[in-house]
């Protein structure tokens, strides 16, 4: 019981710290891409800015708009955050640094992270606001569409590794990272594009779409509840990058440095690419988004899967 509590506290601490660091890093990356400085005032190069923001959000009044569906509206942020935290159970940070190496690890992660969409839809529905509802609906359509190429690309990895366990997938990459195998390189590209859409990040951020939906599903949220959506967004980004690291980049494997450091370097490297993409590309339209999922990524993922099968049987 005590071990479980300590593990839980460590995971929560890591999530909070990682989210705050990622928020600061994203602001810095975006600023430098736009040849600005970004936060510079609070601490060295603004490193303490996320703490100041968090304190501000904690101290803010918890406003409940009068016409919201209170129960649904109140529960939504928890439905978004809890699945992201649950996914940490089977992420291998090191050889023995994993909360529980489930034999269906990757399936478990896909299953629990898919629950997050329920929270987003609840937020959209419960807000009783047309923009929020549109955001929630778009998010549901988007996540359901992109789940297919995402899972197909993961299936390719599972076919090569012969296991759903995250540690066994890492072990299967002892000789060569999966990203260097032809079929799996394509699977990686499909995965990273679909995963970006899964976590509603630009250029696939139509559920939020500040300029058209006024932040979408979280328009009516403020204070700590808004912060929970924010934390969930950055936690989800960490999770998809951690999965990409585990499935395609050899997980915690690497020379000289400790395994956990290798894992974090690779994961934050992918996160940097996601940030770079975010601040480069404009948002796609809804029809373009659906077209990309159904007409491009899904056929590619299917062909890639068939090729992988043929390669394995050859």
């Amino acid at each position: 019981m005590l071990t479980m509590m300590i593990t839980g506290a460590v995971v929560l601490g890591f999530i909070s710290f990682s989210s705050m660091f990622l928020i600061w890093w994203e602001r810095k990356v975006s600023a430098h891409i736009q040849t600005r400085f970004g936060p510079m005032r609070v601490g060295w190069h603004g490193v303490l800015q996320p703490i100041a923001d968090a304190v501000k959000l904690l101290l803010k009044e918890d406003i409940v708009p009068c016409s919201v569906d209170k129960r649904v509206w109140w529960l939504a942020p928890f439905f978004v955050v809890v699945p992201s935290v649950m996914a940490f159970v089977s992420i291998p940070f090191g050889k023995n640094l994993i909360a529980k190496d489930l034999n269906v690890g990757i399936l478990y992660i896909i299953a629990v992270t898919s629950v997050g969409i329920l929270g987003i839809f609840m937020a959209g529905w419960g807000s009783n606001n047309k923009y929020s509802l549109l955001g929630g609906m778009r998010s549901a359509a988007q996540i359901i569409s992109y789940e297919i190429p995402l899972i197909l690309s993961i299936v390719t990895v599972v076919m090569f590794s012969g296991s759903l366990s995250m540690q066994k997938i890492v072990e299967a990459q002892a000789k060569c990272w999966f990203i260097f195998k032809p079929c799996l390189a394509v699977a990686f590209l499909v995965y990273i594009i679909s995963a970006t859409a899964e976590v509603n990040r630009t250029p696939f951020d139509i559920p939020e779409a500040e300029s058209e939906l006024v932040a979408g599903f979280h328009t009516e949220y403020s204070g700590m509840k808004f912060a929970m959506f924010f934390i969930a967004e950055y936690t989800n980004m960490f999770i998809i990058s951690a999965i990409a690291t585990t499935l395609f980049l050899g997980g915690w494997r690497g020379p000289l440095l400790p395994p956990v450091l290798w894992f974090l370097i690779k994961t934050y490297g992918i996160i940097f690419v996601l940030m770079w993409v975010r601040w480069t590309f404009p948002r796609v339209r809804v029809d373009q988004l659906m077209g990309l999922a159904w007409k491009v990524l899904t056929p590619i993922a299917f062909v890639n899967l068939a090729l992988a099968g043929w390669l394995l049987l050859k």
Binding site: V29, H32, I33, T35, R36, F37, W276, T280, V296
Partner: protein
């Protein structure tokens, strides 16, 4: 099908080109300044506040005559030896339209426009400036929060 394949090939190429542009920006120097610790030097033609070199003034009143808003007020006195000396040279910044005509008309370049641009004040009284005072623009040259 041809269009589909063309997009499939050309699309990623254009995306990579975009990523290269932003990466170059990422590693280049920021063009913004850390105001107020760093400040942009003003251009030579910039017209800030009206300023005066009292020793050069010949009391010709050309600046007062040409000022379209009447923001300058001068008074001088003459000694028995017919020597003129300035008594007051008031500048009402509240009325000034920063047109620079006073600077252009001054025959001795006694009146000129300086480069001060941070000219917010806490009361209207502070907008009435005695240009003969030695510390006339001290508050703007070294701004402090009151």
């Amino acid at each position: 099908m041809k269009h589909y394949l063309k997009n499939l090939i050309l699309g990623p190429i254009s995306l990579i080109q975009g990523l290269i542009v932003t990466f170059k920006n990422l590693v280049s120097r920021a063009i913004t300044l850390q105001y107020p610790t760093q400040k942009q030097p003003m251009t030579p033609a910039f017209r800030g506040l009206v300023d005066l070199r009292p020793d050069k003034c010949i009391m010709c009143y050309q600046c007062v005559k040409i000022c379209p808003t009447g923001c300058l007020a001068i008074r001088h006195e003459e000694s028995p030896e017919k020597k003129k000396s300035l008594v007051t040279f008031e500048y009402n910044m509240e009325l000034c339209c920063f047109c620079g005509l006073c600077e252009q008309v001054c025959p001795t370049i006694a009146v000129y426009m300086n480069k001060i641009y941070e000219i917010a004040v806490y009361s209207r009284k502070e907008l009435h400036i005695n240009l003969l005072s030695t510390d006339k623009y001290a508050q703007w040259a070294n701004p402090t929060v009151k």
